[in-house]
């Protein structure tokens, strides 16, 4: 088991490094000078040049890449002096003369725009996104699995066809479109009755400057984000259940005299969950990574919103930070799903 997990983590690291390489290469090809961006419209050549050197922008692309990888790696060899100590806040593992092998939190650099640490910016946004993602995937899983089971138990009936048609429709509409439609209908036309806002984040500052959770602002984004997962989960559950329900062991379970509910939930659903779990985890990771446009539509201050704004203003450290975080998240969720499979289906050999 440990071997299995270590192997998966190994593959995950390779994926992460490749993601960073590809994304930073693409960004470095963009026709802007980040050093100029830092100072807005008013700057002089000398300061820009100094800034460029500080950011390492005067160096070759491979050196820059290497430096970034060194910054985000938790274990690295760094020059051991006070300036670096303040920057990385590391723990020395092994002194190597002027340098040292150190352990540190990944250093995601600082925003060009605000000068704040990227980790701090992301740290504010991630909890909001996490709550949103959890809510919508939870809703989607419950509704999708329930609909899928009901459709599978009545194949080719009106309900079944209805559920399939609706889910195809739900899947075909991009979530930012359904976000806008929902916002318009429930947040604007019907806001008298629903009491919902067109836009608004989960955490807002009230009149006294205090942070305050506005839970109703979660409702519309969660639904907008949940529609496509619901569609997929419904279809996958339905087809997996149809397959499982025709298996011999279901007949065995019925022949034992088990009530229908037990047969369906305990014997059939448990076997049908594998593909569904894959879909749920994939969507969950995608939602956690920030539902870029939906958050933007609702002005929900999550990871997606931060990333979109950073992208628009070429705030490269923030964009890269968001991408790295997303990649780590995907890798982690995938590893967790692989482990989950072993528990869902004992036939998955751990080797």
């Amino acid at each position: 088991m440990l071997n299995y997990i270590l192997k998966k983590i190994g593959y995950g690291l390779i994926v992460l490094i490749m993601v960073v390489c590809i994304v930073s290469t693409i960004i470095s090809l963009a026709p802007v000078d980040p050093a100029e961006l830092t100072f807005g419209n008013r700057y002089d050549e000398e300061t820009v040049k100094a800034k460029r050197e500080a950011l390492g922008l005067d160096k070759g692309i491979f050196t820059q890449l290497w430096m970034y990888l060194r910054d985000i790696s938790p274990i690295a060899i760094l020059a051991d002096h006070a300036e670096n100590k303040a920057k990385y806040n590391y723990t020395r593992l092994l002194p190597l003369g002027e340098r040292a092998l150190v352990f540190k939190a990944p250093y995601l650099r600082e925003s060009f725009q605000s000068g704040r640490r990227v980790s701090e910016i992301l740290g504010e946004a991630i909890p909001l996104t996490a709550i949103l993602a959890l809510t919508s995937i939870f809703l989607a899983a419950i509704i999708g699995i329930a609909l899928g089971i009901i459709a599978a138990l009545r194949p080719n009936t009106f309900f079944d066809n209805f559920a399939i048609t609706i889910s195809v429709l739900g899947y075909s509409v991009p979530s930012y479109v359904s976000a806008m439609i929902l916002a318009l209908i429930f947040g604007f036309f019907l806001s008298e009755y629903t009491g919902l806002n067109v836009q608004g984040s989960l955490v807002v500052l009230d009149d006294f400057g205090e942070e305050k959770y506005v839970w109703k602002n979660l409702i519309l984004p969660a639904i907008a984000l949940g529609i496509r997962p619901v569609a997929i989960i419904t279809q996958l559950t339905r087809s997996a259940m149809l397959d499982v329900l025709s298996q011999d062991y279901i007949r065995t379970a019925k022949a034992k005299g088990l009530p229908k509910r037990t047969v369906v939930i305990k014997h059939a659903l448990r076997n049908a969950l594998n593909p569904v779990a894959t879909a749920i985890s994939g969507w969950f990771a995608a939602l956690l990574a920030g539902a870029f446009f939906v958050e933007n539509v609702f002005n929900f201050k999550g990871l997606g919103d931060v990333a979109v704004n950073a992208l628009l203003s070429f705030d490269i450290p923030v964009v890269l930070g968001a991408v790295v975080f997303t990649a780590v998240l995907f890798v982690l969720v995938n590893i967790m799903v692989d482990i989950l499979y072993v528990f869902l289906d004992p036939r998955v050999a751990v080797s």
Partner: protein, 592 residues
């Protein structure tokens, strides 16, 4: 007598609604089961035998199935008789698994893969007995002991995929027996198992029946099994019971032509025939003027069928002597194939299973060499290694003097059309999206047999007739054909390349005995008309004996016995061979 009546099936009709219309699977059967007896139900697939007894528990998938008419009266030991068909879904659940239990054909798929075996048996006990979990576990372990499972504690904790087929079937039996049912319905419980395992399971069921005083309904397509276990027999054909009676009467004095043909179409053990009789030799089916089906008797016994003759021992030995005088077509020398079972951290092999272990033999032109052994003995692997579908670890295979293992890709490609293989499962080996014509023509195109599509087409049409299909089948799809017809298609596909040598890997194992006889006859006919040589691989010694001149017995990757087929059957020297032969279910007690 009346007092001992346990189950009565009265005028049962079952229908299935399909795209082509309503199919009457069961057309009014009447049957009685008495306390303490074993009732055998025999019939081929599609005869309605499984459907009839799934109806007892209301387990027919509905839709498309529907019980159109009839009653099934259950007379419990205490209490009033009930019509099981009149019960609601909720009410019948009280009877399922409790008064009436079932064992199914496929032990591999009949247990839920995600739950431990112990739990699956506990579940039934907890449901019907209302005892605590600890008591249920104790009872389950006791049952496992009773069905002779080794190490019940370990089996209790195992998942189904960790057990062998025989062990799984024992778990199924334990589950069925868990609530002391009065009726046990066993639907082909041993068909998927090796003969030696089958023998043990049959013995176990006999013992349990006595001990628990249950009655068994035993459904099978194999009359040999019936002879071993049943007291009375009902023969089903096309949704009707065509004959019923005591088991000795059915075997000694069969009345209905279908029963006679069923008895005759299994390869005989004691003598040798040139061909096997089939159902069509014994009867014709026609419709009378009211549109009712009629069965017309044609032959009363094998002696009345002209094309079938016995082959004397001298003749068959003479044939073998002549065959082996020739230069061998295929020479296999010290062939081995090992599979890695364990790898170390760097992926280097640590442990092997020797699937084929230092095997040598020859096949002569025109000969059929039989290869018999139980599942896992390496016979299929051997066939595939010869064709280079699997890599050999060591050894040589000479085909007409050329070492196949050393051939370059292109030379091998040229030889592949000379050596063909016919697989076991006619359902899985045809692509459902290709018409029969396309399926047969595809390898011809690859190997450039004939130059134009129209020439190929002519040849395929010719082949279809030779394997007993019709020219208008050319544009049909596989799902329109029965298992036997599909195997004919597979045979036609193998013949399309005009091979000299065919490996038949369990080619008739998935077929009913009556269909099996037809396919075996076809293979024999084709051997003569196309001058083929075969390696005939099967787990069924009686089939191998009928088909082959010489035979190899394989166990754990090694050939343990070889010789003329009849010799091996009558004078087996190896213990393994002896066990294999004694396990073949036969109506030994009822020799006419």
């Amino acid at each position: 007598m009346e007092k001992n009546l346990l189950l009565e099936i009265i005028n049962l009709h079952v229908e299935f609604t399909t795209e082509e219309g309503v199919v009457h699977a069961v057309k009014g059967i009447n049957l009685q089961l008495f306390r303490g007896e074993t009732l055998g139900i025999v019939g081929e697939s599609g005869s309605g035998k499984s459907v009839s007894f799934l109806s007892v528990m209301q387990l027919i998938e509905s839709p498309p199935g529907k019980i159109a008419e009839g009653k099934i009266i259950f007379h419990p030991e205490s209490g009033k008789p009930v019509d099981l068909l009149a019960l609601s879904e909720k009410e019948i659940q009280q009877y399922r698994g409790n008064d009436v239990a079932m064992i199914f054909q496929e032990p591999m798929t009949s247990l839920n893969p995600v739950y431990r075996c112990g739990f699956q048996v506990d579940e039934a006990i907890l449901l019907h007995r209302g005892v605590s979990k600890e008591v249920a576990k104790a009872q389950t372990l006791e049952l496992f002991e009773k069905v002779q499972l080794p190490d019940p504690e370990r089996i209790y904790k195992s998942f189904p995929h960790q057990l062998s087929g025989g062990q799984k079937q024992r778990v199924m039996i334990a589950m069925a027996m868990s609530c002391n049912p009065e009726i046990l319905i066993a639907d082909e419980p041993t068909t998927a198992l090796d003969v030696t395992v089958q023998k043990k399971i049959l013995a176990l069921m006999g013992d349990l029946k006595k001990e628990l005083n249950a009655s068994i309904i035993f459904i099978t397509h194999d009359l040999g099994v019936i002879a071993e276990i049943a007291d009375r027999v009902a023969v089903m054909y096309r949704g009707l019971i065509v004959e019923k009676g005591k088991v000795e009467d059915i075997f000694m004095q069969p009345q209905h032509p279908y029963t006679k043909s069923l008895l005759a179409c299994r390869p005989p053990m004691d003598y040798r025939l040139n061909q096997l009789p089939v159902v069509a030799d014994f009867m014709d089916i026609s419709t009378d003027k009211n549109g009712e089906e009629m069965m017309i008797e044609k032959a009363a016994s094998i002696q009345d069928i002209d094309r079938i003759q016995k082959i004397t021992k001298e003749d068959s030995l003479k044939r073998i002597a002549e065959l082996t005088k020739q230069a061998p077509l295929l020479e296999v020398k010290n062939l081995s194939c090992w599979f890695t079972t364990k790898k170390d951290f760097l992926g280097r092999p640590k442990a092997y299973v020797k699937a084929v272990d230092n095997v040598s033999f020859n096949v002569y032109p025109g000969e059929t060499l039989g290869l018999v052994g139980e599942s896992g003995c390496g016979k299929t692997t051997l066939g595939r290694v010869i064709l280079r579908l699997l890599p050999a670890r060591s050894g040589e295979v000479f085909y007409r003097g050329k070492d196949l293992m050393l051939l370059e890709k292109q030379e091998m490609m040229a030889l592949r059309k000379k050596i063909q293989i016919i697989f076991q499962d006619p359902y899985a080996s045809l692509n459902p999206r290709m018409t029969i014509g396309q399926a047969i023509m595809e390898p011809m195109t690859v190997h450039r047999i004939y130059n134009t599509p129209s020439e190929r087409r002519t040849w395929v049409l010719d082949l279809l007739e030779k394997v007993g299909l019709k020219a208008n089948h050319f544009n049909r799809y596989p799902h329109e054909f029965s298992g036997g017809q599909r195997q004919r298609i597979c045979i036609a596909r193998a013949l399309a390349l005009k091979p000299e040598f065919i490996i038949c890997d369990e080619s008739v194992s998935a077929l009913d005995v009556s269909v099996q006889a037809q396919v075996l006859n076809l293979l024999l006919d084709l051997r003569e008309s196309f001058q083929l040589s075969y390696i005939f691989i099967s787990h069924d010694l009686s089939v191998v004996k009928f088909m082959s001149d010489r035979m190899l017995v394989m166990n754990q990757g090694k050939i343990v016995e070889r010789g003329a087929s009849d010799d091996i059957y009558h004078h087996p020297k190896n213990v393994y061979t002896q066990n294999l032969i004694s396990a073949i279910p036969q109506a030994k007690n009822f020799v006419r």
